[in-house]
């Protein structure tokens, strides 16, 4: 179903004009063709959008049918953005086709998200039109929405005004009409969220797992393709249902593990999976979350999720953020938690706090074909790639800069990486040895390492790891080295700004206490995954996905005890710790039910 909204605007101008208008959300097209739905930046630019991610080859048209209330002459605007503006043709150009007419104006030309005027069209007596988005480049043209109006007044562009305008045009009520109640609502279906879902479902809780992608696993999914590192700790049985083999990052084998993971999570009847649903708000009263609101990423439907307790495993700490949970971002000063490592000094932990964090990556690869392969010129990529040449990208393709926030500026970060990739590949293609190379896969999802870290009763730090403190409530255990990344451009300005380096600290074994897995000030909020309670360096070790999976499982079991005694997460530590630890111990040996053998 199309998400089309018809409303009648009355403008009190000198003469009163009644205008017909329709807002057509691109992500709700009947058939997206080769365009992908990108819901990653909703909080910043306002909506999921369609993107022509063709890796240099034009993608198939996205098509849809629109019905109008009245026939007549309509002005058309498209909400779009030139994602690499400069002295070259915009990389992501596209056209709009209405019925059989290709409207001449090339779109995707403006700097910053906003409306581009396309032209006028006549809607005939059948009051219907067939719309197509026609990609012209294969390089990430993007369309958020199409607006038809009999008035020639352009819709607002600024984020705030646009959001209000959208609400008016769509006549959307403040609250979702549908309300669903669960024992536990888990938002974010990375390895952490999935593990939390399985653990709590095994204990009989009714779970909603809300995830904004079609596939589970977050960074480990076949859409991003990072393999899982770390040990299983206390949760081998559960984590084996979710993790990956050790293939190089970006490897196509991720698809095999994807199947396993999806199948396993779906096998639990008491997990209601909300795939392609993105949470957009959480409301706390008296420091207790009342509900989480989510929207379907393409049809726009909304649901309000209520539950006594919630898990934030979004990686970005969104639920905590909306609910008013304390959080941190950036690097603490070296003295804050005594995290010095002489050897790497300022690169490891700075004398003065700052907002540097580990960066985000876009993984990619190419393959040899039988015949020569062309690759278009990409002048718009060159200011980023410069003379760098590569035919694949691994973890080191990472971007972080102190003027960019890993959440608020994630689209710019992703786009910077796309320019780095296309430019480096184009440089590599100039070498005769790469004549037969073709881009095989470039993710359009930005894989993040670090952003908001929600604050719990305990903040896990480097010192906890170095001293191998065995907390009484140690529920997660890890042996993997602690590694923290920095951008190599900090050491030499001539280095590309999209390549990082890792600093490793090898310890023996360290523990994460349960107290780092629930919010300090929001009484019914757990967190699992890279947004758990830790310092910047503290995140260096446990951000990998078997460790985050351990956190998820630990949280899932704690949630089942919270449900059993009707208490808050903190009370498990203060009042039920022995029983909790026993539960963790006993679940290790859980028998496999006949039905699952």
């Amino acid at each position: 179903m199309n998400r089309i909204v018809i409303s009648i605007f009355t403008f009190f101008l000198v003469n009163i004009v009644g205008a017909q208008d329709i807002l057509l959300e691109a992500e709700s097209f009947d058939n997206p063709g080769g365009w992908v739905v990108d819901p990653q930046f909703v909080e910043q630019m306002g909506s999921p959008y369609l993107m022509a991610h063709g890796m240099g080859e034009t993608v198939q048209n996205a098509t849809t049918q629109v019905s109008f209330e009245k026939s007549g002459q309509y002005h058309i605007w498209v909400r779009t953005m030139n994602w690499a503006p400069g002295e070259w043709d915009a990389p992501g150009r596209f056209n709009l086709k209405v019925d059989d007419t290709m409207l001449e104006k090339a779109l995707g030309l403006r700097s910053g998200w906003g409306w581009e005027y396309v032209g006028e069209t006549k809607i005939g007596k059948n009051k219907s039109a067939h719309i197509e988005l026609v990609d012209l480049t294969g390089f990430n043209g993007r369309c958020d929405a199409i607006y038809f109006s009999t008035s020639d007044k352009e819709p607002p562009s600024s984020a705030k005004k646009l959001a209000e305008w959208r609400k008016t045009v769509t006549a959307e009520s403040n609250a979702p009409e549908e309300i669903k109640n669960y024992d536990l609502v888990i938002v974010g279906g990375g390895i952490a969220g999935c593990a939390a879902a399985i653990a709590s479902a095994e204990q009989g809780l009714k779970i909603a797992l809300v995830h904004d992608r079609p596939l589970l696993g977050g960074n480990a999914s076949s859409e991003i393709r990072v393999h899982t590192e770390g040990i299983y700790g206390n949760f081998e049985r559960i984590l084996r249902m979710l993790d990956t083999e050790h293939y190089p990052n970006g490897h196509v084998e991720a698809e095999i593990d994807q199947e396993k993971r999806d199948k396993n999570v779906k096998s639990y009847e008491n997990i209601d999976l909300f795939l392609n649903w993105r949470a957009y708000d959480a409301k706390a009263e008296n420091n207790t979350i009342q509900y989480v609101d989510a929207r379907h990423t393409s049809d726009g439907k909304r649901i309000r999720f209520t539950a006594p307790r919630f898990v934030d495993s979004t990686g970005d700490g969104w639920i905590g953020f909306w609910a008013g949970a304390e959080f941190s971002y950036g690097r603490e000063s070296v003295d804050t938690y005594d995290e010095a490592w002489e050897k790497h000094g300022e690169l490891w932990s700075p004398k003065e706090a700052d907002n540097a964090v580990m960066g985000s990556s876009v993984l990619w690869g190419s393959k040899e074909m039988e015949t020569d392969q062309d690759f278009s010129e990409v002048p718009w990529a060159m200011p980023v790639a410069k003379s760098y040449k590569e035919v694949k990208g691994e973890w080191q393709w990472e971007f972080s800069r102190n003027d960019l926030n890993q959440i608020e500026d994630a689209e710019e970060i992703r786009d910077h990486m796309l320019r780095a990739i296309y430019g480096s590949f184009s440089n590599a293609k100039k070498e005769p040895e790469n004549a037969k190379r073709k881009l095989e896969w470039v993710s359009y999802l930005v894989g993040k390492r670090e952003s908001r870290r929600l604050v719990g009763d305990h903040i896990f730090t480097f010192k906890d790891a170095v001293n191998e403190i065995k907390f009484p409530d140690a529920v997660v255990v890890e042996k993997r080295a602690i590694d923290v990344h920095y951008q190599t451009v900090l050491e030499d300005e001539n280095n590309p700004d999209f390549i990082s380096e890792a600093l490793f600290y090898k310890g023996i074994q360290y523990y994460i206490p349960y107290r780092s897995l629930y919010s300090k000030n929001i009484s019914n909020l757990f967190m699992a995954g890279r947004n758990f309670s830790c310092s910047h360096i503290g995140l260096g070790g446990p951000r990998v996905m078997r460790t985050t999976g351990q956190m998820g499982a630990a949280v899932g079991f704690a949630a089942s005890l919270c449900e059993k005694y009707d208490v808050d997460p903190r009370d498990i530590y203060t009042g039920y710790l022995p029983e909790y630890l026993e539960l963790i111990e006993s679940q290790k040996y859980r028998k496999i039910p006949e039905s699952k053998k």
Binding site: G230, K343, E352, W395, D497
Partner: protein
């Protein structure tokens, strides 16, 4: 990284050629107690006529089956510490066949690799017992210079076979490394020697050397470090400075701010004493570099925008094009708060009307809203 290595490689080639002209292949016989010529493979500057004398320290490297190898400190004629040195003899074993490797290694005062000398009588050899060629030595130098070499996180057996999935110890940062990449960085036919040498140079010792220096360093050496082109030296010096030092050396510090690497610039910007931000004269040298420093440093400078004088803001308004989107927003917010003065407004208008400026639209929006 590839960039860095390439530059270095070119440098080494050039340097290597220069060396050929000075000494015969085979090198000078090493002096027991000091050094009066630049080490043959060397990353630090060397002033003509320098004479260094070796002093023993209590530090040593423990080498398998051979035992302790002492670390010496090379001091100049004024007794100032310059380098650490060790004459190493160590077994290198490949497939059960062991031979001795002799090499003289040098470290900086902070424990970084500085260079090496080969022993003219006991050259390095490869698996097939062929001697290293000059190109091989240069490749070894290049490898040792890379503190983040691919050899760093690997056990030797992981370099020969395809790395197996390792539980617990395979970091985020290992996965893509292939044997091919190892081959590119090591001397062919001498993987074991390269591996042993790299781990000798970059092993546990680094921290010890640094500590040793820290424990006895004099002000004179610290100031010398500040004037060095070595960024780790600069950082070390700056890290020990108090407000008085910053003031005393402010010209040199401003000079490093202009010419140094981004990490050092960032450190300076974050650690300049408050007094600097209250005194226009002291700030100016730093603001002057605004258009030329890297983006990260520029962001850090912008954090002090509220201490900048109107003249400084005016000057910055002629450099709007170097700013990123977010930096431009910060700048506009500040001048909005201060009140828009005419010269700045003029510059904004010019920028906003320049079609080549990607973020002209942001300035336009600002002007529209400001003038409302």
């Amino acid at each position: 990284m590839r960039y860095r290595l390439l530059n270095l490689f070119l440098f080494v080639l050039w340097y290597g050629n220069a060396q050929f002209a000075l000494t015969d292949i085979g090198g000078a016989v090493l002096q027991e107690n000091g050094l009066d010529r630049q080490p043959e493979f060397f990353n630090m500057p060397w002033e003509y006529g320098t004479k260094l004398v070796k002093k023993e320290t209590s530090m040593f490297i423990e080498v398998d089956s051979i035992g302790k190898q002492n670390i010496g400190l090379l001091v100049d004629q004024r007794e100032r510490p310059i380098l650490y040195v060790s004459d190493i003899e160590t077994p290198v074993c490949a497939d059960g066949d062991c031979k001795l490797m002799n090499i003289r290694l040098y470290w900086t005062l902070l424990g970084d690799y500085a260079g090496f000398d080969r022993d003219s009588k006991l050259p390095l050899t490869k698996n097939d017992h062929d001697e290293f060629s000059m190109a091989d030595y240069l490749k070894l130098h290049l490898l040792l210079t890379d503190a983040n070499s691919i050899l760093k996180q690997r056990k030797i057996d992981e370099l020969i076979e395809k790395p197996k999935p390792s539980e617990g110890n395979g970091p985020d940062a290992l996965s893509g490394a292939t044997i091919k990449e190892v081959k590119e960085t090591v001397v062919s036919g001498a993987l074991y020697s390269c591996y042993v040498a790299w781990h000798l140079v970059h092993g546990q010792l680094n921290a010890k050397l640094r500590e040793y220096t820290s424990s006895q360093v004099t002000d004179e050496t610290v100031f010398q470090m500040l004037h060095s082109a070595n960024s780790n030296y600069q950082m070390f010096a700056l890290g020990r400075f108090d407000e008085a030092n910053y003031k005393e050396h402010y010209a040199r510090i401003a000079n490093i701010f202009e010419t140094g690497i981004p990490m050092v610039r960032g450190f300076i910007c974050k650690n300049l004493p408050e007094k600097f931000w209250k005194t226009p004269k002291l700030q100016n040298l730093f603001w002057n570099a605004f258009a030329d420093v890297d983006i990260n440093t520029r962001s850090l400078l912008l954090e002090h925008l509220n201490s900048a004088s109107t003249e400084t803001l005016e000057r910055i308004s002629t450099h709007l094009g170097v700013m990123t989107k977010n930096q431009l927003k910060i700048f506009l917010e500040q001048i909005g708060e201060n009140g828009l003065v005419e010269p700045i407004r003029k510059n904004l208008v010019v920028f906003a009307n320049d079609e080549k400026q990607t973020y002209g639209y942001i300035v336009n929006q600002f002007l529209e809203e400001y003038e409302l």
